[in-house]
C-alpha cells in the first residue's frame, strides 16, 4: 500500500487518516445496512415471518424518494416515502401473509418471494430501468476535512440519523405501551391475546413499523447509491446476512453484525481488495456452523 507522504503529515499520519476514514465509511454503510435489516429482524422476532420481499420494499422507498424529491425536496421525501411503504407493508401483511402464515415457513417464504418478483416488475414498468439520481439536500452536500482527505457531510448525517433512530427504537420498546405489548407478544402471544389485546392488529401495525424502517433505509441510501432495479438484490443479500449473522429476531445482534460487516467490507477493500466480496458470506457460513442461532439469537 504505497502512500505518498502528505505535505503536512508523516506516512504514519497518512495511514492513520486513511484507516480512520475507512472506519467511518464502514460504520456509515453498516448503519444503512442496520436500518434495512432491523425491520426484517424484528418482524421475524415477533411474528416468526421471514419476508423475502423486504429488500424490494426498501428499493421501492428509494424510487418513491426519487419521485417525491423531484416535486418537493429530500426532507419531505424522508417523511412521506417510509409512511407509504409502511402502508403497503400493512396491506401485504393483512391480505397476503396473514392467511398463509399458519401453513408454516415454506409457503410463507415462497409467497414473499413471489411478492418480491411482482414488486420488481412494477418498479420497472413505472420508473423504467435506467439509473435515477437523488441528490442529497443542499445543506448536506459539503465536506469536512480529515487530515488531507475530505469527508462528505451526508455520510456523517447518515450515522447521526441512524443513531437517533436506534435510540428511538430502544426507548419505544422500553418505555411505550406498544413496546411492552410487542415484547410480551414475542415471548407468548397467546397469553397477550388472553389479556384482551387484539394481537392480530398489533401484528399488522408492527409489520407496518418494520417496513417503515426499510422505507427509511431506502430513502437514506438513495443519494448514496444510484436508484436502479438491481438495488434490491445489491443491498438485500447483505441485509439477510446481517439478520442471520446477528441472530434471528435480535435487534442488538443485527446492530453488531451490520457494523461488523460494514467495517470488514471497507478494511477488506483497503487491505485485500480481490477477496473482499467473499468476506461477508464466508463470515456468515463460519458463524452459522459454529453457532446455528447466530451471534445473539436464541431461535433458529
Amino acid at each position: 500500500m504505497k502512500i505518498p507522504p502528505s505535505d503536512r503529515g508523516t506516512i504514519m499520519e497518512g495511514t492513520a487518516f486513511i484507516l480512520l476514514t475507512q472506519g467511518i465509511h464502514g460504520i456509515s454503510y453498516g448503519l444503512v445496512l442496520f436500518l434495512a435489516a432491523s425491520g426484517l429482524s424484528m418482524i421475524f422476532g415477533l411474528m416468526d415471518i421471514l419476508n423475502l420481499s423486504h429488500a424490494y420494499l426498501f428499493m421501492l422507498a428509494a424510487y418513491f424518494a426519487f419521485s417525491i424529491a423531484q416535486v418537493t425536496n429530500f426532507w419531505v421525501a424522508l417523511l412521506l416515502a417510509p409512511l407509504a411503504i409502511a402502508c403497503i407493508g400493512m396491506l401485504l401483511e393483512r391480505y397476503l401473509i396473514k392467511p398463509v402464515h399458519p401453513f408454516g415457513h415454506t409457503p410463507e417464504l415462497v409467497l414473499t418471494l413471489g411478492i418480491g418478483m411482482v414488486l420488481l416488475e412494477v418498479v420497472k414498468s413505472i420508473w423504467g430501468t435506467t439509473m435515477l439520481t437523488v441528490m442529497p439536500p443542499e445543506s448536506l452536500q459539503g465536506f469536512i476535512p480529515i487530515g488531507y482527505l475530505k469527508y462528505p457531510v451526508y455520510r456523517i448525517f447518515i450515522i447521526v440519523f441512524t443513531i437517533i433512530i436506534l435510540c428511538g427504537l430502544h426507548q419505544l420498546f422500553r418505555r411505550t405501551r406498544f413496546g411492552t405489548i410487542v415484547r410480551a407478544a414475542t415471548v407468548n402471544s397467546d397469553m397477550v391475546s388472553a389479556l384482551g389485546i387484539n394481537v392480530p392488529r398489533i401484528y399488522t401495525l408492527f409489520f407496518g413499523f418494520g417496513t417503515w424502517l426499510a422505507g427509511l433505509a431506502g430513502v437514506v441510501v438513495a443519494p448514496l447509491l444510484s436508484v436502479h432495479p438491481g438495488l434490491a438484490d445489491q443491498v438485500g443479500l447483505d441485509a439477510f446476512v446481517v439478520v442471520v449473522l446477528g441472530g434471528l429476531g435480535s435487534l442488538w445482534g443485527a446492530f453488531v453484525a451490520s457494523i461488523l460487516i460494514g467495517l470488514l467490507n471497507t478494511y477488506g477493500i483497503q487491505l485485500i481488495p480481490t477477496v473482499a466480496p467473499l468476506i461477508t458470506f464466508s463470515l456468515m457460513v463460519l458463524v452459522l456452523t459454529v453457532k446455528p442461532t447466530g451471534l445473539f439469537g436464541d431461535r433458529q
Partner: protein, 321 residues
Amino acid sequence: MKITKGHFIIGLLLLAALAAYPFFSGVVYTNLFVRFLIFALFGASLNLLLSYTGLLNFGHAMFFGVGGYATALLLEHMPNAGLLTALFVGASAGALLALIVSPMLVRVRDTAFALMTLALNQLLFIACLKLRGITYGEDGVGGFSIPPLNLFGLVSVDITHPYNFFYFSLCIVGLGLFLMWYTTRTPFGSIMIGIRDNPNRVNYLGFNLPFSKTVIFTISGFFAGSAGALFALFQNLVSPDAVMHIQNSFTAIIMVFVGGIGTFIGPIVGAAIMTGLENLAVRYTEKIFLFNGLLLIMVVMFFRGGFVGLYNLAKAKWGSK
C-alpha cells in the same frame, strides 16, 4: 396402485408419442422439450428434499452448477473422455458438494437452514466469478468437444444432433426420475417421510438424524448434478449466471410449488408449465418475472396443492359424478 392393463396401454401410447415427438415438432420444439426434461430432473431432485424430507433448500442451484461445471471442465481438459463418464463425473460432483456442505446444514433447521443454503449458493456463485483461472469467470466454460455416445463399442451416436440428443436426454431423465421414485418407495424413503413429519420422533426411534439427512442430501445432489451435466452437454456452454445463479434455485422451488408440493409428479408438471411460460414470455413480453411472481402468489394463496392438487380436486369433484 395396481398396474392394470389400462395403465399398460396408456404407458405404451405415451412412449410411442414421445418417440415420434421430434419428427412432427421440428428442431426448436425438440430443444424446448429437452430443456423441459433437464428442468424436470432438476425439480425432481429438489422435490426429494422439499416434499419428501421437508428440507427447504434455497440454494439447490449450487449442485446443478457444480455438476455442469464438472462435466464442462472435464471435457475441456480431456476431450477424449467418454460421454457417460462425463455425465457421471458431473453427477458425482453434485453428490460430493452435497457431502461437503452437509455437516454445516444438517445441524440447522427451518429458516436458518433456508438462509444458510442461500448464502452457500451465493458464495459459490461469487467463487465461480472470481476463480477465473479455473472457471473462466463471467464467460464461463464453452465450446468444449461433445464426445459421441458409444453403446458398448458397437455403435457410436453423435449426440450434437438435436434429435439424437432428445432421445439421449429422454433416457437419462427417464432413468433418473425412475430411480428417485424408487428411492421414495424403499425403507429409506419412509424414513425420509418420517423426517419431514416429525424429525424429533425419528431421532428417538433410533435413526441418526444428521447422517440420514446427509445421505438424502447426497442423493439429491447426485441427481441435481446429473441435470447440470446434461445442461452443459446440451448448451455446450456453462456460465455462472446460467447454472449457478440463485435465480435457478428460485425457479426450482417455483416448479415444485406450482406443480404440486408433496407429490412426486409435481415438479415434472411444474417444469412443463415453467418452460412453456418462459417460451411464451420470450416471444411476447419482457415481463417474465411478473408472470412467475403472480403465478407463485396465486398458487400459495389459493391452491396450495399446485396443479396436481387442482387436478386431484377436479377429479374428486367431477370424477365421482
